[in-house]
């Protein structure tokens, strides 16, 4: 809580700082861009009208009788000595008027500044001009231009000076941060998109080329393999040398990796669909063409999919000599390499102790279990597989898989081992052991099972109830009814009553259920429903 609050405060602080930084940096930039005006009079003398700026000339006479109305000055209502002009837009006019008044020698005059009808000091005018210049509302170049009254002189000067644009595009682009960002965007976008388009097209064309070649190679290898498989005598095939076999295929093609891959895939797919002697012939062709070396070579590749395809080929074609290399890959960090290597080792190593599986450090996924189950089922049909190492494995998932195998393969003789394991087993192992008990109607170990009714794990509890439904004794009925009264979980109550109903239907009917009567009636109705129970 404190950490979160702190984090929120920190975020706020960072945001404020960033905002202030942006604001102040904007302000500083604005200050840097400004042009300071020095010598107000000289500036005003050289410019035309300045927007918003007006001038009024004040004149204070020495005696009361002086009349300045002829000079378009007005007399102040409160003071007869004080005269003032109309508002003047040009400074030079105001200056001329002031100079004219000074010549009268009848008082003193001054030029006063008005910004938007409000009188301001000289510094106020300076500040105002600065703002105008900064915001490009006032062009200071006019100061220079206005000093030239003779148009001809200006043209002459212009021809002597080389043309220099006021805004240089390059400078403008580089000084504009938005434009810079935009250019960066464009550049990055163009480069990235070009690379991506190129990569995509290369991939697409490579894929297309590979597809075309694969199809062509398939057609090329299909004929010779069929001839070798169906036309030739088995003995003749054995006597054939590699060179003779190679001659059956288009010249030089067996040096191409893709052709070899296509050949192997064709042989593997035929091997899956054929039986007996044909399988042996396919394996012979595979070896005689030295395709096994190609498969083994794949194991040293960096790409995981190439390594995995090598392992799969070795597995399918029973390349026993590759066992030491494949064995090293059974603990590989890559899931696909690892799981296929273990499957291959189980399949071709002829190690009936399943040691390679028991030594697995990584947890077994359900996907791996599915694969290994298929292989072990096949091995178990062939010979005597020993499962004990699986039960002793340090890896919990391997032990759980071992228990599952007992159920899947009907290994009734291992139930005694499971019973020994039960007390010290983990929850997952217990659940699987209970499923085995349930599957094989294993009546022993009821006491241990009863004890586990007090578990806090709902899944284990439901599995215990399920086993008791099938194997429970009279004691179980009493214990179950006690648990029914204790528990409030609907699902648990339903399963308990289901179990009791299965063991002794009368007990359910005769029991006096006081609490939650409606719920119990609902459960009983559910249990007695023929469709729910039998369909």
């Amino acid at each position: 809580m404190i950490f979160e609050a702190g984090l929120r405060s920190l975020k706020k602080l960072i945001f404020t700082l960033v905002f202030l930084k942006l604001f102040f940096s904007g302000n500083l930039v604005a200050q840097d861009d400004s042009i300071t005006v020095t010598g107000l009079q000289s500036v005003l003398e050289n410019v035309d009208e300045v927007p918003g700026l007006e001038f009024i000339v004040y004149f204070k006479t020495l005696n009361d009788t002086t009349d300045l109305t002829l000079l378009n000055l007005s007399q102040h209502a409160d003071s007869v000595n004080f005269w003032f002009s109309d508002t003047i837009l040009l400074y030079n006019q105001a200056k001329e008027l002031n100079a004219g008044l000074s010549l009268l020698n009848e008082g003193s005059g001054s030029i006063n500044y008005f910004l938007f009808k409000r009188e301001v000091s000289e510094s106020g005018v300076l500040e105002y001009l600065d703002n105008l210049i900064r915001n490009e509302l006032f062009d200071p170049s006019g100061i220079v231009n206005n000093s030239f009254t003779n148009e001809g002189e200006l043209v002459l000067l212009g021809t002597k000076t080389a043309f220099r644009p006021y805004y240089k595009l390059k400078v403008k682009i580089l000084s504009d941060i938005k434009m810079l960002l935009l250019l960066a965007c464009l550049g990055m976008f163009l480069i990235a998109s070009l690379i991506m388009v190129l990569v995509m097209f290369v991939i697409k064309s490579k894929k297309r080329r590979k597809e075309v070649l694969t199809l062509r190679f398939k057609n090329l290898c299909y004929g010779p393999i069929s001839d070798l498989l169906f036309d030739d005598e088995p003995e003749r095939l054995k006597q054939l040398k590699r060179e003779e076999l190679v001659c059956l295929f288009p010249k030089g093609h067996l040096d191409i990796d893709l052709f070899k891959d296509v050949m192997i895939q064709e042989i593997i797919s035929l091997n899956k669909n054929m039986k007996g002697d044909f399988k042996a012939r396919l394996k012979l062709i595979y070896r005689k063409l030295e395709l096994d070396k190609h498969s083994i070579k794949k194991l040293s590749f960096k790409r995981w999919d190439v390594v995995t395809s090598g392992i799969v080929e070795i597995n399918e074609m029973d390349v026993i000599e590759a066992v030491p290399i494949v064995g090293k890959l059974t603990s590989h960090v890559n899931f696909y390499i690892r799981s296929n290597a273990v499957a291959t080792m189980l399949n071709i190593s002829e190690d009936m102790t399943l040691k390679v599986l028991a030594d697995q450090r990584y947890p077994l996924s359900k996907w791996q279990q599915m694969k290994y189950y298929r292989i072990i089922k096949y091995l178990n049909n062939k010979g005597n597989v020993q499962f004990d190492l699986l039960f002793e494995s340090k890896n919990e998932s391997v032990r759980v898989f071992g228990i599952k195998l007992v159920r899947y393969l009907g290994l009734v003789d291992r139930l005694s081992v499971l019973r020994q394991m039960y007390r010290t087993a983990s929850i997952n192992e217990k659940i699987e052991i209970l499923k085995c008990y349930d599957n094989f109607n294993h009546l022993e170990g009821l006491d241990d099972i009863h004890t586990d009714l007090s578990t806090s794990d709902k899944t284990l509890f439901l599995n215990v109830v399920k086993v008791l439904k099938n194997l429970g004794s009279e004691v179980s009925q009493i214990i179950l009814m006690e648990w029914f009264r204790k528990t409030k979980d609907f699902e648990c109550r339903l399963k308990i009553l289901d179990a009791v109903n299965s063991l002794n239907p009368e007990l359910v009917t005769l029991s006096n259920f006081s609490a939650n009567e409606e719920q119990v009636n609902q459960i009983i109705a559910h249990l007695k429903d023929p469709i729910l129970n039998h369909v």
Partner: protein, 485 residues
């Protein structure tokens, strides 16, 4: 002073929009690369998968398909039959009749010999009253369960189905979806494969079925829809599924699984309290809540995604229906983000809090608003004459080209990975749509998104205070009564 402030605001906004555009471009380019890598890995993995084994193996997990139906009487029987013929051994089909006013119930009873049972219904997740649970007297339909309940909306119907489900994986689908026969085997693969992390949910690609030929529940001939809106959605779905979600899967940051085709771990769904019926974005909200719970518990987890074409649906081709859909999606997004606002930039929430949530907030939720402000900004600039023509044209060209590039990539991905649209005229139509989309369709999407925001502010369809306050913990949903008394 006024002038300085105005200029600062204008400059800041200009930089903001530029940074926003820059970020979008960068992020989408990264996403294109990430999705490409993920797609490559997926295709490589597919080479070593034997899906036939999954169908019969005793190790394969059981699946409960839950399909809510409201006034689907015309197609419900056909859809149920299609679901019952999927290639998988351990699964059940739970159809939930969400208080339909048509003859859905009668048709189902008649077609499948359904009988109302005394099923002891357990309201472990709250939902509207269940009127009856039906099962068939015919053993051939033993996988089918039909739940008849009072109307409460899609999320409520799904919750009613979850209460009945018995298997460890829940497949929540739209009843009108067309599922490929091998959809279940392919979708359970991520659940079965993972060793170090718990897979809590898996999403799938939704294909556009408009104008396609469908035979035995599978699309046999792909054709692009005739209308521009339909064709736009084909491209949009490519972008969303083949690029967006694949990229998010790569970094384990996926926070949306389509409600039309999503698989979930039942135990976890029950733990977090099922769907939240008071939001219109129930699919996204559930995924976020599940992930949030896993982070809160400190359990390594993953949300998977299968890019194989396994599910198809009819998309709306009229403006009226599409606008309502987009409005709803926008409100759903806002509501979900609002409900889970406390995970934003929270390092404890991993990729979800630090990457996915901010992305969705900035580039999905705020996108229509920022685009609209950007438009006004540009118009003001044009009006005041402060815009540089060079700058404006460059930016416009950049964004337009980028839009075309991303859409082209998504089509190219589809071509490389699956190549379903083989006809060249289809491809030409799609390319034409890509060129026209930014002018003809995108402005409408922005407008519909804005309307979604407006409707959210007005409180339309949402659940006012609760959504604004949000959940303090993922499991807080269970404390909230979501059923109106």
């Amino acid at each position: 002073m006024y002038s300085i402030l105005f200029h600062i605001v204008i400059e800041l906004m200009g930089i903001l929009f530029l940074v926003y555009s820059f970020s979008i471009i960068t992020i989408y380019l990264i996403m294109a690369v990430l999705s490409g890598l993920e797609m490559r890995d997926h295709l490589r993995k597919n080479k070593f998968a034997d899906y036939l084994d999954v169908i019969t193996s005793p190790v394969s997990p059981g699946i409960s398909i839950i399909a809510p139906a409201y006034n689907e009487g015309m197609n419900i029987v056909q859809n149920a039959k299609s679901l019952l013929t999927l290639h998988y051994s351990r699964y059940e089909v739970i159809l939930v009749n969400d208080g339909s006013k048509d003859d859905s119930l009668e048709r189902m009873v008649e077609s499948f010999d359904l009988v109302k049972t005394d099923y002891a219904y357990n309201y472990q997740i709250e939902c509207k009253r269940v009127r009856g649970v039906y099962k068939s007297a015919n053993r051939s339909f033993s996988k089918l369960i039909f739940v008849d309940k009072e109307n409460g909306g899609k999320a409520d119907a799904l919750n009613a189905g979850i209460n009945v489900a018995q298997n460890e994986i829940l497949a929540c689908i739209d009843v009108d979806c067309i599922l490929s026969s091998d959809s279940l085997t392919r979708m359970v693969r991520p659940f079965m494969e993972e060793t170090n992390r718990k897979v809590i949910a898996v999403g799938g690609v939704i294909g556009v079925a408009n104008n396609c030929d469908v035979k035995d529940g599978t699309v046999t001939k792909y054709r692009v829809p005739d209308t521009l809106l339909g064709r736009f959605q084909v491209i949009e779905y490519f972008r969303a599924f083949l690029m967006g979600r694949m990229a998010w899967t790569r970094i384990n940051g996926l926070m949306l699984i389509s409600g039309a085709f999503g698989f979930f771990d039942r135990e976890l769904v029950l733990k977090v309290g099922g769907y939240f019926p008071k939001t219109v974005g129930e699919d996204m909200e559930l995924v976020v809540r599940m992930r949030r719970h896993m982070y809160e518990m400190g359990i390594a987890h993953k949300v998977g995604f299968v890019p194989d074409p396994l599910c198809w649906t009819e998309v709306p081709e009229t403006k009226g229906v599409l606008s309502k859909q987009r409005n709803r999606w926008m409100r759903g997004t806002i509501e979900t983000l609002q409900l889970h606002q406390s995970i934003s930039m929270n390092p404890k929430q991993g990729v979800l809090g630090m990457v996915s949530y901010p992305f969705w907030s900035i580039f999905e939720k705020w996108a229509p608003i920022l685009e609209f402000i950007g438009l006004i900004y540009t118009m003001v600039m044009v009006f005041t004459g402060d815009i540089s023509a060079l700058y404006f044209i460059a930016l416009f060209v950049l964004i337009y080209c980028f839009s075309i590039l991303i859409s082209s990539f998504s089509i190219l991905y589809e071509e490389i990975a699956y190549n379903n649209y083989k006809d060249k005229t289809d491809l030409k139509k799609l390319i034409k749509t890509i060129i026209l989309e930014p002018f003809l369709v995108h402005p409408q999407l922005v407008w519909w998104g804005l309307k979604g925001h407006w409707h959210f502010i007005k409180g339309k369809g949402g659940w006012g205070e609760m959504i604004r306050t949000g959940f303090k913990k993922a499991t807080d949903k269970q404390k909230v009564s979501t059923v109106t008394p």
